[in-house]
């Protein structure tokens, strides 16, 4: 029978079998697996069988449920997976006696999580493979290569199209600007586009850009198809796949 083992660091705290009823996990004492930590929500997650497969479901917890370090709302579990809830983890035994196919990095890199650690290349490769597999298993679509592009619709520039490859793209007359504006009265640095982890943000320089007809109040995230007007030039932000 499948079973779940609640672990804290290397010690097993409790083990429960997964039967026909969902296993309830959380901080309040009426759960099947009680995780006594403030980072854990009262009703944090559930594990149950669904058409023969073991599934973990986050119950809208504050700090999230992680399967092998990827945050999930719902994911199919495999033998040897680890569910992370706060600083505790739950080892998944889907067969009862089968060997663990996946060596969790935390088992080899046991140590406090506050200590900075590096995933060495092999472990990282495994994790990225896991991430790709997770893309199929959960609602996260596997990432296709996206090419953020600025297309010049009108105005004088040194090129008609620019692919954004740098952390910071400057728009202006400056010889060093990525998107060079032509014309006597153009500012050296009219505006700038900063690549952040979650997307591209346009901010003002000597001019305040207009995005989709509205002057931006501060750095503004660009979405696919947005229209940008700055210093007499009209630009179109397009994400190509």
């Amino acid at each position: 029978m499948a079973k779940l083992s609640l672990m804290f660091e290397q010690k097993m705290v409790k083990e429960v079998p997964v039967g026909s009823r969902p296993v309830r996990i959380g901080r309040s004492p009426d759960n099947d697996l009680v995780v006594d930590n403030l980072a854990v929500s009262n009703d944090h997650a559930r594990v149950y069988f669904e058409s023969g497969r073991l599934v973990v479901e986050d119950r809208g917890s504050l700090n999230g449920t992680f399967v092998n370090d990827l945050r999930v709302e719902r994911a199919t579990l495999h033998d040897g997976d680890s569910i992370w809830i706060g600083k505790h983890h739950i080892k998944v035994d889907a067969t009862g006696d089968a060997p663990l196919p996946y060596e969790s990095r935390r088992k080899t890199n046991a140590g406090s999580i506050n200590e900075t650690m590096v995933l060495d290349t092999k472990v990282r490769r495994d994790m990225l493979q896991q991430a790709a597999a997770m893309g199929e298993r959960t609602q996260f679509a596997a990432g296709r290569i996206k090419v953020p592009t600025i297309v010049v619709l009108s105005g004088r520039t040194d090129s008609k199209e620019y692919i954004l490859t740098n952390k910071l793209t400057t728009i202006g007359k400056s010889a060093m600007a990525t998107i060079k504006l032509r014309g006597w009265f153009k500012p050296q640095m009219a505006a700038q586009i900063n690549q952040r982890d979650d997307g591209y943000y346009i901010g003002s320089g000597d001019k305040v850009p207009i995005v989709n007809g509205v002057s931006i109040p501060g750095p503004t995230k660009l979405d696919d198809g947005d229209l940008v007007e700055v210093s007499g030039v009209r630009l179109n932000f397009i994400v190509r796949e």
Binding site: A39, N63, G64, F66, D69, L70, R71, G86, K87, I113, N114, E115, T116, M117, V118, L119, D120, T121, R124, A131, F140, G143, N166, K167, L168, T170, S174, M176, A177, Q188, M189, Q192, N194, Q195, R196, D197, D198, G203, S204, G205, D206, G218, P219
Partner: protein, 279 residues
């Protein structure tokens, strides 16, 4: 243009040793900051060795531009960026070798962020989760990408930026110096403008102080040294869970107008040393 700098480091309120290391090489306009890791005192060894290696290699390159470069030259990079890339690869090699040769140093490593200003060009070299920010027209813009698991999850759309800030996996790095024989190094080339302010910092700052607070401090305090000290104070007020180090570099525009032009002319004719007014 006049370049003013300031730097500060502090062990923080929780830890007992400071594994951060930074160097301001004023004559070269080169700034290097590293955050070490590894048990006992070996994080300190790693960050110091990494910083020393980068600084030495860049000074050698400055004195002799044809000094050998480590690794394949990357197309599209100017000589300073090329040198910086080579220096960081060399730092990786040196830290890795030291860890191989000394059993007690096993597992040590470091993050490293370096900025090199050449006229109005900035070269940035980076591995790990220390950061370089550019404050320009009141906006704080991050010029480095963290090589951390949570940042990668944000880039893949798995976490939102605010979820990443809450994550308990923030300390997991995907890249660092000295943990592998080879490492991928990020290099960026950015044009600079008068009035720009650069900030290099270890994660001890960015985990304790929000970006609007950082931007506000840099704007409120025009003196780079005092700004650096203020940022460290803010990190410690916020809890100081980690070592914190910052370098602030401020590009002051030359004063304009008739008066300063006359004054400069007077200084030139009065002082025997033409550069006396530059410092």
């Amino acid at each position: 243009m006049q370049i003013l700098t300031g730097g500060a480091t502090h062990v923080g309120m929780v830890r007992t040793n400071n594994e951060d290391c930074y160097r301001i090489v004023a004559p070269l306009n080169l700034y290097v900051l590293a955050d070490g890791m590894g048990g006992e005192a070996h994080g300190e060894v790693a960050s110091a060795l990494a910083v020393e290696t980068v600084v030495k290699h860049c000074i050698e390159g400055q004195e002799n531009p044809s000094a050998p470069l480590l690794g394949e030259p990357k197309p599209g990079l100017n000589p300073k960026s090329q040198r910086l890339l080579s220096a960081i690869h060399l730092a990786n090699q040196n830290v890795f070798q030291s860890a191989e040769e000394h059993a007690e140093q096993e597992g040590m490593g470091a993050t490293l962020t370096a900025a090199w200003i050449d006229g109005m060009h900035l070269s940035v070299g980076h591995v790990g989760d220390s950061r370089l920010y550019l404050l320009r027209t009141g906006q704080l813009q991050q010029l480095t990408s963290d090589h951390s698991l949570v940042a990668e999850q944000v880039r893949r759309g798995i976490l939102t930026a605010s979820e990443a800030e809450q994550s308990n996996l923030q300390s997991v790095l995907l890249r660092a110096l000295g943990t592998q024989p080879e490492v991928e190094v990020d290099i960026e080339q950015v044009p600079l403008f008068p009035g720009d302010v650069l900030l290099l910092c270890s994660d001890g700052l960015t985990r304790m102080v929000t970006e609007p607070e950082i931007a506000g401090t840099l704007q409120a305090e025009p003196d780079p040294q005092r700004a650096a000290e203020k940022l460290v104070e803010h990190a410690n007020e916020g809890g100081g869970i980690d070592n914190v180090s910052v370098i602030v570099v401020s590009l002051k525009p030359e004063p304009k107008g008739w008066f300063s032009w006359l004054r400069r002319g007077a200084q030139k004719s009065a002082g025997g040393n033409g550069s006396a007014g530059g410092q």
